[in-house]
């Protein structure tokens, strides 16, 4: 007899995610993923000024802040035929990389680490031994014995207070925790370090975008003007601050994040064989070095890998109505043409149709509709998106830098390339691309300085700023890679206003419910066959779900078909 396990809320994520799983014989035999919150951004965008859209879209997510703003300004620029100046491209690339580095580090330490690191066990650690281990894998100057001792006594104090706060009631002592106490102590120490560090690296956004979270973007370029002879603009002081922050970021990634990642992974080899899930991977690619219109020169290549075949990369086209389509067979929406149909985002329809149980409820009706997420498919195939997809597409495309970091890490872990198709493979891929992002950020910074040195101070192309210069109707697609995976915005502009706007975001690909053919999306597929030692403490579910870095607020939205406002269906 199968046991039904519900995890709601899934914590240490962005947004509202509910997982239901059936466990039999100590393994998950089936799983359902549900997004339980909806806001309706696309409906709100209708009729607005396209130049404002980035600000609305950016609020889709405050964790991967900036990525929606980038996709949005690109969609508008694509529609209006605007090419941004090279400096603005570099500023966007640097902000992109800063976001990756900061967000991935936060994910590893603050959202994911506690699935592998037992905080309470750190109390039993020998601080001297912890320092010795830490020093053996990294030159990070803080890894001293006295430092480890200080951290340990801080945790002890917290435990003694009887108020564990954010650490209360977790699965401490669970048999699936395998790290020795000393490694747990290192993990806790760096959890605190990372918390302090992350607020520094993100100042790169503040310099270029004025604030973080939610820095400012601009259609046509960037708003931060360059003037090396002015206190009120990007000058040597501002740029030097960016340079210093980049150096610190790289130092932390190389000396703390990556050594910790490899150390933790080495204690959980079995997780390189669990949680693989789907075998198709999609990446739009990003980080242009020769403009957004030249994808072959992106740092992250664009393409699709099917059936884990790394010798071939398939092409992906956002505009092609046959490629990307969304389904609502198991989502709380309905289509005029019937709920079994799939619609390309240009033709998307939305009508809320909540058919779920009336709250408060214990269990969803997973045979019917069970999520606010729609289900996107590429040529009717379910795709995984995210760091792993990016690295696999890059690897398959023969990208040298990606092959190098992947090869090196696999060598150190003594793992075959197939180990990547797993929960821990996903987590490792995130760390490896962070390494690349930090490296590339420095490269883009160098290019920006060289441009300015050579006399190019342009930061925005304002030739088509005024709506009077626009065609009456225009359509655009903005593709990017959010930290969590492939992200695209589609826009239709008519008469200077937004006629239609759509977002298909990473967590929609990964966290969506089943399609009409009953095919699972990435979360559900990855959970099947995962061992669960204690159904009352489903730590293993968290491991696999967190390996995707869920971000659900982005994933849930609705479409506004060709400007029509369809009426909402009243439930009950």
């Amino acid at each position: 007899m199968a046991t039904r396990v519900v995890v709601d809320p899934v914590t240490r994520i962005e947004g509202h995610l509910r997982i239901e799983a059936e466990i039999s014989g100590g393994r998950i035999v089936d799983a359902w993923s549900s997004g339980t919150m909806v806001r309706g951004l696309e409906k709100i965008l209708h009729g607005r000024d396209p130049r404002d859209a980035w600000a609305f879209c950016e609020r889709a997510c405050g964790v991967c802040t900036t990525v929606h703003a980038l996709a949005s300004v690109r969609a508008v620029e694509n529609a209006l035929g605007i090419a941004v100046p090279p400096n603005a491209e570099m500023v966007r690339n640097i902000m992109f990389c800063a976001q990756y580095v900061q967000d991935h580090v936060i994910h590893f330490y603050h959202l994911h680490a506690l699935d592998w690191v037992d905080v309470v066990s750190a109390l039993r650690a020998d601080p001297r031994e912890a320092a010795r281990i830490a020093q053996s894998i990294s030159p990070w100057p803080k890894n001293s014995e006295s430092y480890m001792r200080t951290v340990q006594s801080r945790v002890q104090k917290l435990v003694d207070s009887g108020q564990l706060g954010i650490f209360a009631n977790a699965y401490w002592g669970h048999p699936a925790y395998k790290l020795p106490p000393e490694v747990n102590l290192i993990g806790v120490a760096h959890y605190l370090d990372a918390l302090e560090w992350q607020k520094e690296v993100i100042k790169i956004h503040t310099i270029f975008g004025g604030k973080n979270p939610h820095p400012n973007y601009l259609v046509g370029g960037a708003a931060c003007a360059v003037n090396t002879d002015e206190a009120n603009a990007l000058n040597a002081e501002r740029l030097a601050m960016v340079g210093t922050l980049i150096d610190r970021a790289q130092e932390f990634v190389e000396q703390v994040y990556l050594p910790d990642l490899l150390a933790v992974a080495s204690f959980y080899p079995e997780w390189f064989a669990i949680g693989g899930g789907l075998s198709n991977y999609l990446a739009y690619g990003d980080l242009p070095t020769n403009g957004y219109g030249d994808p072959p020169r992106f740092k992250f290549p664009r393409g699709i890998v099917l059936d884990r075949n790394l010798s071939e990369v398939h092409e992906v086209q956002g505009e092609d109505p046959e490629q990307i389509r969304e389904f609502v067979a198991h989502s709380w929406y309905k289509y005029g043409v019937g709920d079994q149909a799939g619609l390309h985002p240009w033709k998307g329809e939305t009508e809320f149709q909540y058919t779920g149980p009336r709250p408060p409820y214990e269990q969803l009706d997973v045979q019917g509709k069970y999520s606010w997420l729609k289900t996107p498919r590429w040529r009717d195939k379910a795709m995984e998106v995210g760091p792993l997809a990016r690295l696999l597409v890059g690897y398959a495309a023969g990208n040298e830098e990606i092959r190098e970091v992947v090869g090196e890490a696999l060598g150190r872990l003594k793992a075959p390339p197939t180990a990547l198709f797993s929960t821990l493979g996903r987590t490792a891929a995130r760390g490896l691309e962070t390494r690349l992002a930090a490296r590339w950020m420095k490269e883009f910074y160098g290019t920006l300085l060289a441009n300015i040195k050579n006399g190019d101070s342009r930061m925005a192309n304002t030739e088509r700023w005024q709506p009077a210069t626009w065609p009456n109707e225009a359509r655009g697609v903005g593709l990017t890679e959010a930290p969590r995976g492939a992200l695209a915005h589609w826009i239709v502009i008519r008469g200077g206003k937004i006629e239609n706007y759509q977002l298909v975001v990473p967590s929609t690909w990964n966290a969506s419910p089943r399609d009409p053919q009953g095919q699972r999306s990435a979360y559900e597929a990855s959970l099947v066959d995962t061992p669960v030692a204690d159904p009352k403490q489903p730590l293993e579910i968290l491991r696999t779900v967190h390996s995707f870095d869920p971000c659900i607020a982005c994933a849930v939205h609705l479409y506004d078909p060709e400007g029509q406002h369809l009426s909402r269906v009243q439930v009950l």
């Binding site: 809320p9 240490r12 909806v38 405050g62 207070s161 607020k199 809320f352 403490q537």
Partner: protein, 378 residues
């Protein structure tokens, strides 16, 4: 009563220390801190019953930018707040426990510290169609917020979502997104608007409550006066350029490169109450205007529907710096209710003459953007 928050005295007693040991420890503490022996009783009292106040933090219709901002705080740093100052017993962003165990932790705190815990809300609450647009653990946000508020000592409404509804409440507000103060009554609510609020402002509000053991002084809209009593315009370092009539006319033009005033690019600084010009962002590194982008007014009610963002204020509210936030807030509320724009509030004749030419140049297409009407009234 035995189930109250555990103090240092409780902990020491459990570990076999006597009352005498405890008092001796307190006197060492007092000596170490340079406190005269007459102050000893107050130290004993403080350590006897000064456990960390519990805080439960809810997420509803939001994007988590408020939590992200909170962890960016530099003074104090967030680890010090979370580990040493408060007991953050529920938060979907950082909490180790999930699902049943997370909910259990929440309910334990709500029962054990009824009337004592602080409640923070990030996100608006959808009220349309029985609240089905946001559920946690199978319950609606609407249900949860009412239950939790009933036992809370005070409520902090973080960010524009919880204070005004923010982006999801923008026209046509498809889910009936509603701010907390329209659902909960009879409890002190500190409203901390902004999308998100500045990290140090968020930490400042928490620290104020804990250090001074009282709610900060609030203005007529429930915002802490310490952070929301000045318009961005009045604390803007580019203000002299405004006064001198030096404006950016187009992004990246010569005036932009000189850092002139962004008023003509749509800056909402003149109608926005926030600390951006004073505290600045991310430990004082910059703020939107300093980085060349106009303020979009993200801490003001209904700012999404007062666009387009790059269209400059059709009429500049020339009220003087001496006008306080309460009066403007009331005037703005009245103006919105009457269906006219906030910029109708205008008293300063001196400023008017200066900008009259700018007003003429302003685009007045009201049809580009749905108005703010109908937003709150659903």
């Amino acid at each position: 009563m035995e189930d109250r928050r555990r103090s240092l005295w409780d902990t020491m007693r459990e570990r076999g220390y006597s009352r005498r040991d405890f008092v001796r420890f307190c006197s060492y503490m007092a000596a170490a801190c340079g406190i005269h022996s007459s102050g000893l009783p107050s130290i004993v009292r403080a350590l006897e019953k000064k456990p960390r106040p519990p805080l439960v933090w809810f997420h509803f219709q939001e994007c988590t930018c408020c939590s992200e901002s909170f962890i960016r705080s530099s003074h104090p740093v967030v680890a010090d707040i979370v580990l040493d100052t408060i007991s953050l017993d529920y938060t979907q962003t950082l909490q180790a426990a999930a699902g049943f165990q997370a909910e259990e932790a929440l309910h334990k705190t709500m029962e054990q510290y009824r009337g004592e815990y602080l409640m923070a809300v990030e996100g608006s609450v959808p009220t349309a169609d029985g609240g089905i647009y946001c559920t946690v653990a199978g319950r609606t946000a609407l249900d949860i917020v009412k239950e939790a508020a009933s036992g809370a000592k005070a409520i902090v409404a973080w960010g524009s979502c919880a204070t005004t509804g923010c982006v999801q409440a923008a026209s046509p507000n498809p889910t009936g997104a509603t701010p907390v103060h329209k659902i909960v009554t009879g409890k002190p609510i500190i409203r901390v608007p902004g999308c998100p609020p500045i990290a140090e402002v968020m930490a400042g509000v928490v620290v104020h409550v804990l250090t001074f053991d009282r709610i900060p002084q609030l203005d007529g809209l429930g915002r802490p006066k310490a952070f929301y009593s000045k318009r961005v315009h009045d604390s803007c370092y580019r203000r002299p350029f405004y006064d001198a009539g030096l404006f950016v006319e187009s992004f990246d033009d010569e005036d932009a490169k000189k850092g002139h005033c962004l008023y003509k690019m749509g800056c909402r600084g003149p109608v926005t109450y926030n600390s951006c010009g004073i505290v600045r962002w991310n430990n004082g590194v910059s703020y939107p205007i300093q980085s060349g982008h106009p303020c979009i007014g993200c801490s003001e009610e209904g700012f999404w529907d007062k666009g387009p963002f790059y269209q400059h204020l059709a009429g500049f509210p020339g009220f003087g710096i001496e006008t306080n936030a309460d009066r403007i807030g009331l005037a703005a509320a009245a103006a919105t209710a009457a269906g006219i724009a906030v910029h109708a509030v205008s008293t300063n004749i001196r400023k008017r003459r200066l900008i009259s030419s700018e007003i003429e140049g302003a685009v007045r297409e009201q049809d580009v953007k749905p108005g703010s009407q109908g937003k709150e009234e659903r």
